[in-house]
């Protein structure tokens, strides 16, 4: 490890320093008096659960958000205030976002230099642009990347390299990488880690956000953990281990947060036999029983959501068999899935779950309009009473059924989506990231509702990135990686360590074992 550089620099002024930074959105404090600093030539890992405040912190650093009054941001010891992303970039701070900000129809070279292209006189110098792009990419150990290729046709890993080259082309002194390996294959991950080490050796400071522990131990010099918007601590990597980091991130006993009620498990409801969708979901077999909550754990891109979309008919299975109550069924569309009793509370509430511009009443009835209508005329009275029932039953805090869904808080929006699907009387309920981005109180309400529904005999699949949630709520846990099931655990044998290991280490090991097996 090249920790020497970091320790040598420890006494010098940090490159970038945040002191007492807070950020409030609509009255909710999402960052609470955080102190944070990055030194030259250091990889500083930033850890925390979803909603811990990581993205807010990096958006402050990259000039998208202004911190609240009272905090201080210094670059090279001098206080700065960024009013736009442009200002942060001029101060040498560049960010590689998860959703890459590239122009699909432009070439690699042009994407790297958009906004600051080399010129001779008034005219852009394309040859110089291409030459410098070539040099930058060679520097990133990417001689295979054609500077004249259209970016829209590149793989995710290559697009990411373009983003990194873009950051370097502007002489970035601090590079922020937001989950750069989330959607990369193994070999690409190794290449990326090499690139990060190279940059560090050249004195670039790096803030590295990732959920994958092995990467953090392989790369980071220091690690900072955030939880619920507050700083939990910054440690040199040598002083912590896996378990210590997990407990810093979670910070509370799992039982106390999750009101898991044990209910009798009934007969099998849903059965998958070797179900695949292209190479995104591969060969999944499982049995789900009434009253059971099956947790699916896995990193982003591990195939968890893809599996849900396949069961729900958005991306119909390309092979394999699905049985419902023992009968084989074909599911080619969400409509068919709904009609046979499968419900899906999707990952992206705002985009997939809710019509924000419509009322609670219209949202709750959306999936079962044909059932509350006669000769296709919607029974308005029945619809209203259904919406009122849903508000009462799910504890939705709203002015009434005619309030627009978009005006509700995240937790109440999620309850509306849940109410919409429970109203269809499903046999199987799939919940994808059921508590993402909602506050702690609403979280436990959703969890209690989930238990109650399971108690009523519903078979529940819960997908979550939050390990404590998976461990706290599930009767059984299925771990996915690379589109495959890599391991299943019973509630009794599941601990953060073994499940976390299955998500990260075991997944990679499994992937390699597969290749080794198929090589000869």
């Amino acid at each position: 490890m090249t920790t020497t550089l970091a320790t040598e620099d420890a006494s010098a002024t940090p490159l970038v320093q945040l002191r007492n930074i807070s950020k409030t959105f609509g009255g909710i404090k999402v960052l609470k008096n955080v102190d944070f600093d990055v030194r030259r030539g250091e990889v500083h890992a930033l850890l925390g659960e979803n909603g811990a405040g990581k993205s807010t912190l990096i958006k402050i650093l990259s000039g998208f958000h202004h911190p609240d009054e009272g905090g201080e941001l210094t670059v090279n010891g001098a206080p700065v205030a960024f009013s736009a992303p442009r200002d942060a970039r001029n101060a040498g701070i560049a960010t590689v976002y998860q959703e890459l900000l590239l122009f699909p129809d432009m070439t690699v070279a042009e994407n790297i230099f958009i906004g600051h292209a080399p010129r001779t006189g008034m005219a852009l110098d394309w040859n110089e642009m291409r030459r410098r792009a070539r040099a930058l990419l060679d520097d990133l150990d990417s001689p295979d990347l054609d500077v004249d290729a259209r970016v829209g046709g590149l793989s995710v890993a290559n697009r990411q390299r373009v983003e990194i080259a873009k950051a370097l082309s502007q002489d970035a002194r601090l590079l922020i990488m937001d989950e750069p390996t989330a959607s990369l294959a193994d070999a690409d991950v190794r290449r990326l880690l090499d690139v990060v080490r190279r940059l560090r050796a050249r004195g670039v400071a790096i803030i590295y956000i990732s959920h994958r522990m092995p990467e953090i131990f392989a790369l980071a010099d220091r690690v900072t953990v955030l939880r619920d918007g507050a700083l939990i601590g910054t440690r040199p990597i040598g002083e912590v281990d896996d378990a210590a980091l997990v407990s810093m991130m979670v910070g509370r006993s799992i039982d106390q947060l999750f009101p898991k009620v044990t209910v009798p498990i009934g007969a099998p409801v849903l059965e998958l036999r070797n179900v695949s969708f292209k190479d995104e979901v591969q060969d999944i077999s499982l049995v789900l029983r009434a009253g059971e909550i099956l947790g699916i754990a896995g990193l982003v891109g591990s195939g968890r959501t893809e599996l849900a979309l396949t069961i729900f008919g958005i991306t119909p299975a390309t092979s394999g068999e699905i049985l419902l109550n023992g009968e084989p069924v074909t599911i080619r569309s969400p409509r068919q899935a709904r009609d046979i009793g499968i419900a899906y509370v999707p990952e992206d509430r705002g985009l997939q779950g809710l019509v924000k511009a419509q009322t609670i009443r219209e949202n709750v009835s959306m999936a079962l309009l044909s059932r509350i209508s006669r000769a296709s005329i919607v029974n308005r009275a029945l619809e209203s009473s259904m919406a009122r029932d849903a508000i009462a039953r799910f504890g939705i805090r709203a002015r009434g059924p005619e309030q627009r869904a978009g005006q509700l808080s995240g937790g109440n929006q999620q309850k509306v989506v849940l109410a919409k699907w429970v109203a269809t009387n499903p046999k199987v309920l799939i919940m994808d990231e059921p508590t993402r981005g909602i506050d702690v109180g609403a979280k436990s309400e959703i969890h209690a509702l989930m238990c109650k529904l399971a108690g009523e005999g519903l078979a529940v699949i819960m997908i979550s990135s939050e390990l404590p949630e998976v461990l706290g709520m599930s009767d059984r846990i299925l771990v996915m990686n690379g589109g495959r099931m890599v391991k299943t655990f019973d509630r009794s044998e599941a601990t953060p360590d073994v499940v976390g290991a299955a998500m990260t280490h075991a997944g990679a090991a499994h992937g390699r074992a597969e290749q080794a097996g198929s090589a000869p």
């Binding site: 569309s333 009609d339 779950g353 019509v355 924000k356 219209e362 309009l369 209508s373 627009r404």
Partner: protein, 314 residues
């Protein structure tokens, strides 16, 4: 999209309508006569009919620029089927309307199957359908329709122009479909959030296909009424109708971004546009001068809505 915000927009529009009617009545004493009002109803029937499905189209977040061309094509084909092919006129009328439906279906297929943005898809078919009308007709017009045919466009039922009855009946049906049925709900849901609609089991593509096909069918019906009203067919019939239709719909409070709008609003918008045209004509503004006002009203209406809604939603 609460009930209250609807009422607010329609109240504003209704108030505007009263003011305009009052001002125009001051300009000319011919304005508020039964004869004039019924005659205006006759004149706006074709635009009015097409505005009904266009309301659906725009609520789904789409647009259909080809309706004027479909009208022209169906008008020409009505003449061709009857005059050149010698089919009985009622059969020719039905076939012309069916062709309109097919033209609309083609729009729908291009939009749903090939994911071409509605704007450009219907811009292309605007040229294509008008081109077919011109090519088939070779600038020849068809005249000499039998007398009974003119009942539709020039006749009266119970003292009210026939086509005004048709418009009223279709408006009521359209309002009922949009406001009361599952199909209407699907229309709003598709426009407000297509992905969420699909994730809720709504058949998005089928909804759009039906709507564009409906727009084609109604344009065909409007063509038959048009021919009956003016006693002749020409290939340039309906040129620019899309502008009048879209203006009425947007003026009536339907959001060009989709998800919002009502038939009642469209009808009020329609009356407002027609009253403006008529009033200006009576005050001595020449025919084409009135479209300046329509263009202005279109831009100002959206300008006002945009500024208004931005304040409302924060």
């Amino acid at each position: 999209m609460t009930l209250r915000s609807f009422l607010r927009h329609e109240a504003v529009l209704g108030f505007l309508l009263i003011v305009v009617l009052f001002l125009l009545a001051q300009q000319s004493d011919k304005f508020f006569t039964t004869a004039n009002i019924l005659n205006q109803g006759r004149l706006m029937a074709e635009v009015g009919l097409i505005a009904l499905p266009m309301t659906f189209v725009i609520i789904t977040g789409g647009i259909d620029l080809s309706v004027g061309s479909i009208l022209g094509l169906c008008a020409i084909l009505l003449g061709v089927f009857w005059h050149n092919l010698g089919l009985p006129l009622p059969v020719a009328m039905v076939l012309a309307i069916v062709v309109g439906g097919i033209a609309g279906l083609i729009n729908g297929l291009i939009i749903t199957r090939f994911k071409v943005p509605p704007l450009i898809a219907t811009l292309a078919t605007l040229a294509l359908y008008r081109g077919l009308a011109e090519g088939i007709s070779q600038a020849r017009s068809v005249r000499g329709y039998p007398d009974w045919f003119f009942v539709l466009g020039q006749g009266e039922v119970l003292g009210v122009p026939t086509q005004l009855w048709i418009l009223v009946i279709f408006a009521i049906i359209a309002a009922a479909i949009l406001g009361l049925t599952t199909f209407g709900r699907a229309t709003y849901a598709v426009g407000a959030n297509e992905t969420a609609a699909r994730f809720s089991g709504i058949n998005v593509d089928r909804t759009k296909l039906l709507i564009y096909t409906g727009a084609g069918l109604i344009s065909g019906l409007a063509a038959v009424i048009f021919v009956s009203r003016v006693s002749t067919t020409r290939s340039d019939m309906g040129t620019g109708v899309e502008l009048d239709v879209i203006t009425a719909v947007v003026l009536g409070g339907t959001s060009i971004f989709g998800g919002r709008g009502t038939i009642i609003g469209t009808v009020v918008g329609l009356i407002l546009v027609q009253a403006l045209k008529n009033g200006l004509a009576l005050s001595g503004v020449k025919g084409d001068g009135t479209i300046v006002v329509i263009g202005l009203v279109l831009i100002l209406a959206i300008l006002a809505t945009n500024l208004f809604s931005r304040n409302g939603d924060g």
